[in-house]
């Protein structure tokens, strides 16, 4: 029972590490998929905004969309208004739906269709599942405004919730303004040339290719994410260390007499330490396996309860990393109890009841 409890406790940081890594990968993959789903080649952001920051508000004059539409090689320019709904994980996008369909190849509806009435809204299947929405469902969003779901589309395009741009502009008090502009070119090969030309004409605007955007959706490109993973890994090592240390210390106390017996049979101090450390490492292996199993539980819970807010994937490449981290913690944690056991006086140990 002690062994099982120790392995379960060691499994906690393993689960924590795998869940966090799964979340960062899942959310970045999801963002990348939605960015690709837009179907644009170029992304124009408001002046003064950094690349990997979330957008909100609408600082770009809408006439800029018309200006960009007239540029060489630009087949379609699409303005979008962005408004956060639930923190930074769920946002609503306001776009011209006809133009968005042209750019993206069209939304695939699993239920209903595009908005018809002013309070109609469309949501993706993940948001609908999380909120229990169906076509015709009413829900509150953006203040006290009540919306009716007119359609539910498959995810992976732009955002979870989409509104006609005029309605969102009105609600956010930003008429004739947009948050960002997407450009679809006549040929993606012209992307770099068009970006270079636009940067000459619009030096204040950050302009990127969508390929640049999607390539940056990896954990290694996000300093904050890497720091967070590092902290969680450190916490994992520390928890693993203390759990194994405490567990093995208790085990050594329980087995004082057995250690005395082994010493009376000629067991060296090195043998005693190796035995205790080996047991600690075995606990680490067991904890890693249980932790991997529990990470599937996290994945299932997130997928079932909050599929729209956060996304998690199982990152198998992190299994050996989490295992190695745990074994380091477990091995270090078993060293002191092992050393303590080796120092037991064999006569006192044999007399231990």
């Amino acid at each position: 029972m002690r062994t099982l409890l120790s392995a379960l406790l060691i499994a906690v940081p393993v689960t924590l590490i795998l869940t966090l890594v799964g979340l960062t990968h899942g959310m970045l993959q999801e963002s990348e998929q939605r960015a690709r789903g837009i179907g644009a080649d170029i992304w124009v952001r408001p002046p003064g905004t950094a690349f990997a920051t979330s957008l909100s508000g609408a600082p770009i004059p809408e006439k800029m969309v018309d200006f960009l539409q007239q540029q060489p090689h630009v087949q379609l320019a699409l303005g979008s208004v962005v408004q956060t709904v639930e923190g930074v994980t769920v946002i609503v996008n306001g776009v011209d739906l006809d133009k968005f369909d042209q750019m993206s190849g069209g939304l695939q509806y699993v239920q209903g269709g595009p908005p018809k009435a002013p309070d109609d809204i469309i949501v993706d299947q993940y948001y609908a599942a999380q909120k229990g929405l169906h076509v015709g469902s009413a829900f509150m969003m953006l203040g006290n405004h009540t919306w009716h779901v007119s359609g539910i589309f498959t995810g992976g395009k732009l955002s979870r919730i989409i509104l006609p741009i005029r309605i969102l502009q009105e609600l956010t008090s930003s008429p004739d303004k947009v948050t960002q502009i997407f450009l679809k070119l006549d040929d993606p090969k012209n992307t770099e040339a068009v970006i270079a030309a636009l940067k000459m004409k619009l030096p204040d605007y950050p302009i990127y290719s969508m390929a640049d955007l999607t390539s940056l959706y990896s954990a290694s490109n996000y300093a904050g994410v890497n720091s967070l993973i590092t902290v969680i890994v450190a916490v994992g090592v520390i928890i693993g260390f203390f759990v194994v240390c405490l567990s093995m210390y208790m085990a050594v106390l329980q087995r004082t007499r057995e250690i005395g017996i082994l010493k009376s049979l000629g067991a060296s101090n090195g043998f005693i330490i190796r035995t205790i450390v080996a047991e600690g490492l075995l606990l680490g292996v067991g904890g890693t396996l249980i932790g991997i199993g529990l990470s599937f539980g996290s994945w299932w819970l997130i997928r079932t309860l909050v599929p729209a807010s956060i996304q998690m994937v199982i990152v198998t490449s992190w299994w050996p990393i989490a295992g190695a981290i745990t074994l380091v913690g477990a091995g270090l944690g078993a060293l002191y109890p092992g050393w303590n056991a080796a120092r037991h006086d064999p006569i006192e140990a044999l007399a231990y009841e």
Binding site: L262, L265, G266, A267, P346, I347, L350
Partner: protein
């Protein structure tokens, strides 16, 4: 090596335990010779230093002063690792409380002793005969909790002799056994002494048990006081 010297030669042996700020002498200048192949019984009241003498001869603790020569090796000059090696092959213990590892079967308890000594874990054919003599050949796959006291002590004897140690130290081997099992165990120890020629020292409170030895010495207050 047999050069005519005793197998165990003890001279002026003292052992003082430090209990906080108090020094407690357990052995006070003990002299003892035990011949090769001798079966010596040691009797004496509690606190007379019998177990301390065993612990020193068995290398579990160093002496405070004096000389202990085992098979021509000076024990008082041995390091801790030398004494650990001594317990692997040269000296073995039989305890009153059997001291078997509770999570291992009888067979594995015996195998552990061979493993620690760096020997093949499968004993030689002659040892199989000894297991039959001990009457535990059919009980080897049981854990200690499934064995009677007599069976546990026989397993402990098997474990003690599996590496053919030159010296066997039996500390009250019948202290936890009934009369029938006590007699059986004592006869086994005497039989092993005759078959294998091991030097055996046995601590006992029981004069009838002591009579199984070739010779009996009496201890009191950390010294040999008579034979």
């Amino acid at each position: 090596m047999n050069n005519g010297r005793p197998m165990i030669e003890v001279r002026g042996l003292t052992k003082v335990y430090n209990m906080g700020n108090v020094d407690v002498p357990a052995l006070r200048g003990l002299d003892l010779d035990v011949e090769r192949g001798e079966f010596l019984s040691i009797v004496g009241p509690s606190g007379s230093g019998k177990s301390t003498l065993f612990h020193i001869i068995g290398g579990l603790t160093p002496p405070s002063s004096g000389r202990v020569r085992l098979d021509d090796r000076e024990l008082s000059q041995m390091s801790e690792s030398d004494r650990t090696r001594l317990r692997k092959r040269t000296v073995a213990f039989i305890f009153q409380k059997f001291n078997l590892l509770p999570n291992l079967t009888a067979r594995d308890n015996i195998a552990v002793a061979r493993y620690l000594a760096g020997l093949d874990q499968k004993p030689d054919p002659q040892f199989e005969e000894i297991l039959k003599l001990l009457g535990i050949a059919q009980r080897l796959d049981h854990k200690p909790s499934a064995l009677s006291g007599g069976e546990q002590q026989r397993v402990a004897i098997a474990r003690a002799i599996v590496n053919r140690p030159a010296i066997l130290l039996a500390d009250e081997p019948t202290g936890n056994l009934d009369t029938e099992n006590s007699t059986a165990v004592l006869e086994i120890i005497r039989d092993l002494n005759e078959r294998l020629g091991q030097t055996i020292l046995m601590i006992t409170h029981n004069p009838e048990a002591a009579a199984y030895g070739h010779r009996t010495v009496h201890m009191r207050d950390g010294k040999i006081v008579g034979e």
